[in-house]
């Protein structure tokens, strides 16, 4: 159905794709797995018309297709979602969803009634029917991703390409995506599915292509390879899964550095109390929007005034500036909105906090970049020329170099591959060893398990409707336990 032949693409000095050929059959859901910068996104962007390859050709249903723009791609029946999302806050939910295929009446006029009807049906399928009249700017991250998914789905193309659409989704959203994709496949359509989450590849895809350093390392039926085999192919060597240090149940605690008695969760009219110990790792889990993000955002002064005790001294933090002065760091998974300074160099981005906020002379940029293992050509190149994962590493590097007292992270590894993710975890763990504390929200339970595995001094708190319903420590921190705690029991009793 879709056939890419000998495609190559170079950005400046960086070779993104080298002589890649790929064939996907009709009615197949093909997973694409690869590290950051391995060329996955470039591959789908070429088919989607946003990137023009240097060499190579593209064939659809046996016919050569010239695709030079997203409009060409759509004419040829190819639709893709973008990692950066293409939904816009100045349009309504309905306009966003239907933008690419807005129904018309009398030949030219926008048929809003019909659009609304289709929109309502699609939103109901996606579990977002309550958002029909919402302002797009007010939607949480995961719903924006669902909207992006719906926007692609509604175009009913022959070939659908999803670039990390699940990276910010919670498991109940992923279930919906899975169901919709199976329906799509049943209609004889073709899907390319990029994800860093192995369980999704196994439960959604029929086959998987592994990418490594801009080359296709092989395509396999999904049952042919197990997880470690795929990861080994991805990194080009042996990879042992589950490098978690078994930790024993412990109640070490240590001296508290931040104590906040009232962190308000306005949506539920409740508040949470949190005591963070020196060098501690606290993972925050829960279903979407049960107050996880509010905890880290409030502590960083992003949601109004908050009273707390920092190293025994009572303080009120009113804005992020004061939080940074107290030694807090905030790492957001929303790279575009709260991470990168677009159109600025890697170096500028790395030293932003030290240079602009702390008014200190920043340390050597190259050393920091080497320590956090960023792949780059030149520190003066534009940050956005790096892959998403490498961009995020630079953002993390920005804060690590300030030696923060407390790191607040809101889903910081969103859209980052398994390897870079574990490198980031190691980086965080190393910082907690040196005395920083970490509070990290994640939509991926497995991630919290492996993060907490790095340190004895760690716990996972699970939120439900704005309250901490469960605290797990040591060997109790398992994916099953976390998931069990996030899902409300029928009789209301939570362990």
């Amino acid at each position: 159905m879709l056939h890419l032949e000998n495609v190559s693409k170079t950005y400046g000095h960086v070779r993104a794709l080298e002589d890649v050929s790929l064939t996907v059959n009709q009615g197949e859901i093909r997973g694409i797995l690869g590290g950051n910068g391995s060329g996955k996104s470039t591959l789908v962007k070429i088919a989607g018309g946003t990137v023009v390859p240097d060499t190579g050709s593209l064939h659809i249903a046996g016919r050569k297709a010239a695709i030079k723009s997203p409009r060409d791609a759509k004419r040829n029946g190819i639709v893709m979602t973008s990692q950066e999302l293409s939904v816009m806050p100045n349009l309504t939910v309905c306009e966003n969803l239907m933008l690419c295929r807005f129904p018309v009446r009398a030949g030219v006029f926008a048929d809003r009634r019909k659009a609304r009807q289709t929109c309502r049906e699609m939103l109901r399928d996606l579990g977002l029917e309550h958002r029909c009249d919402a302002a797009v700017g007010s939607l949480p991250k995961n719903e924006l991703y669902m909207l992006e998914f719906g926007k692609a789905l509604v175009q009913d193309s022959d070939i659908l390409m999803l670039d990390e659409i699940t990276s910010a989704l919670y498991s109940e959203n992923v279930d919906i995506v899975r169901k919709k994709l199976k329906e799509y496949k049943a209609k004889g359509k073709t899907v390319l599915f990029i994800s860093h989450r192995m369980d999704e590849l196994y439960s959604i895809c029929d086959s998987v292509t592994v990418m490594r350093n801009g080359e296709a390392a092989g395509t396999f039926g999904i049952d042919e390879k197990n997880e470690s085999e795929l990861l080994s192919l991805m990194v080009g060597g042996d990879y042992e899964l589950g490098g978690r240090i078994e930790s024993t149940l412990c109640e070490k605690g240590g001296r508290p550095i931040v104590k906040a008695d009232r962190i308000p969760i306005p949506r539920y009219g409740k508040s949470v109390s949190l005591e963070i110990a020196h060098g501690e790792i606290i993972g925050v889990a829960g279903l979407q929007g049960h107050g996880q993000a509010e905890i880290v955002r409030t502590l960083h002064g992003l949601l109004g005034d908050v009273d707390m005790n920092v190293e025994g001294i009572p303080v009120t933090i009113r804005n992020p500036r004061q939080a940074v002065e107290k030694g807090f760091a905030f790492i957001s998974g929303d790279r575009e909105g709260e991470g990168v300074f677009k159109e600025h160099s890697i170096a500028d981005n790395l030293v932003a906090v030290e240079d602009l906020v702390k008014r200190k002379r920043p340390g050597a940029v190259a050393d920091v970049l080497a320590a956090i293992k960023v792949k780059y050509a030149n520190i003066h190149q534009n940050l956005t020329s790096l892959s998403g994962g490498n961009q995020q590493k630079v953002i993390v590097g920005r804060w690590t170099s300030t030696n923060p007292l407390l790191i607040l992270a809101d889903d910081p590894t969103k859209g980052i591959d398994v390897l870079a993710r574990s490198e980031l975890h190691a980086l965080f763990a190393g910082m907690t060893k040196r005395g920083s504390s970490l509070v990290m929200v994640s939509s991926d339970e497995q991630e919290l398990v492996s993060l907490c595995g790095h340190s004895d001094n760690s716990r996972v708190i699970v939120l439900y409707e704005g309250a901490i319903v469960c605290t797990l420590r040591g060997a109790d921190i398992t994916r099953d336990n976390i998931v069990a705690a996030t899902i409300p029991q029928k009789n209301g009793a939570l362990s």
Binding site: S69, P70, S86, V87, L91, L99, V104, V108, F109, K151
Partner: protein, 320 residues
């Protein structure tokens, strides 16, 4: 009670609301200073004078909504003005002259659009350059102000149509064209292109096409403005539009059009222009010393702006 609150809430959300309130507040304030300021004859002559700026403000707003800026519309209006007078002076029938002026204005808009949308020129620099070119062109066509307009035109402009001042027709035509355009699927695409060209592009929006439309439409608006001002003054002056570009942009911003693109609508810009026009009229007619007039207009504008901002803030958290 509840319904009234709902209505108030949705009125506050309207981006045009601050400009509408500012205009009416100043109109009322003005009636205390000037005895006849609510009389029909005053309002008609004030509308006649403000119409050219309103035309340009419509064009400029659409360009800003589309994520660009056009500071050459005043110069285009000057070209249209002197061209019309020259054509009429050369004995061209006024109907043909009107068509030619509109065509020339749209051609100038097309040049802007081509340079910016297709060649990816910076809109500020490009229209600054073309603005200088168009001003030069106007001076070349008519170095010394003068000439006269067809009697039919000035009679029509100062007359009335269905009981309303006929001048209103000049801005109502572009206003109606925009409102129709907005109801097609292109309307939302233009807003999308203005908010973020890349997001719009990957959504399959013809960004270049939308931007070219915006500039050509702005040219058309400048042409309508030229027809209005020529009919109103009855003469040609190559410098007539010089100050209007900035005034139209201010009117758009007062009217709730966001300079970053993608937000707002032209209705607010119309009231913004009316507000700015009224400031000038009030100050001129209030017997203030000519040396203080400019200062006074500036102060009224500043206080009006602060009031509008306070209003905007009250209406809830602004969407970024």
């Amino acid at each position: 009670m509840n319904r009234a609150r709902l209505l108030l809430g949705s009125l506050r959300k309207m981006s045009a609301m601050p400009a509408i309130l500012l205009f009416f507040a100043l109109l009322v304030a003005n009636s205390f200073i000037m005895a006849n300021s609510l009389s029909r004859s005053f309002l008609v002559s004030y509308l006649n004078n403000t119409t050219p700026v309103m035309c340009i403000a419509i064009g400029t707003s659409v360009v800003i909504i589309c994520g660009e800026i056009d500071i050459s519309l005043g110069a285009m209006l000057s070209v249209g003005n002197v061209l019309l007078i020259k054509l009429l002076g050369a004995g061209v029938p006024y109907q043909a002259a009107v068509v030619l002026v509109l065509a020339a204005s749209m051609a100038m808009g097309l040049l802007n659009g081509f340079l910016i949308a297709a060649m990816r020129g910076s809109s500020l620099l490009t229209t600054f350059a073309t603005s200088t070119i168009y001003s030069g062109l106007a001076l070349l066509i008519m170095p010394v102000p003068g000439g006269s307009v067809a009697r039919e035109m000035s009679r029509f402009y100062n007359g009335s149509l269905l009981g309303l001042p006929a001048a209103a027709l000049f801005f109502m035509i572009p206003y109606a064209i925009w409102k129709i355009y907005k109801r097609t699927t292109h309307g939302m695409r233009l807003y999308a292109a203005g908010y973020d060209r890349n997001k719009a592009y990957v959504s399959g929006v013809n960004v270049t096409g939308e931007k070219i439309f915006a500039f050509v439409f702005a040219g058309f608006c400048a042409g309508m403005g030229a027809l209005a001002i020529t009919s109103s003054l009855g003469a040609g002056d190559a410098l007539i539009g010089a100050a209007m570009s900035m005034m139209a942009i201010s009117a758009a911003v007062i009217g709730g059009v966001s300079l970053s693109g993608g937000y707002g609508d032209v209705t607010g810009s119309l009231f913004g222009s009316l507000f700015l026009g009224l400031i000038t009229v009030s100050v001129l007619s209030s017997n203030v010393s000519p040396f203080v007039q400019q200062l006074a207009s500036g102060l009224i504008l500043l206080f009006g702006m602060l009031g509008a901002m306070a209003f905007g803030m009250k209406s809830g958290k602004k969407r970024n």
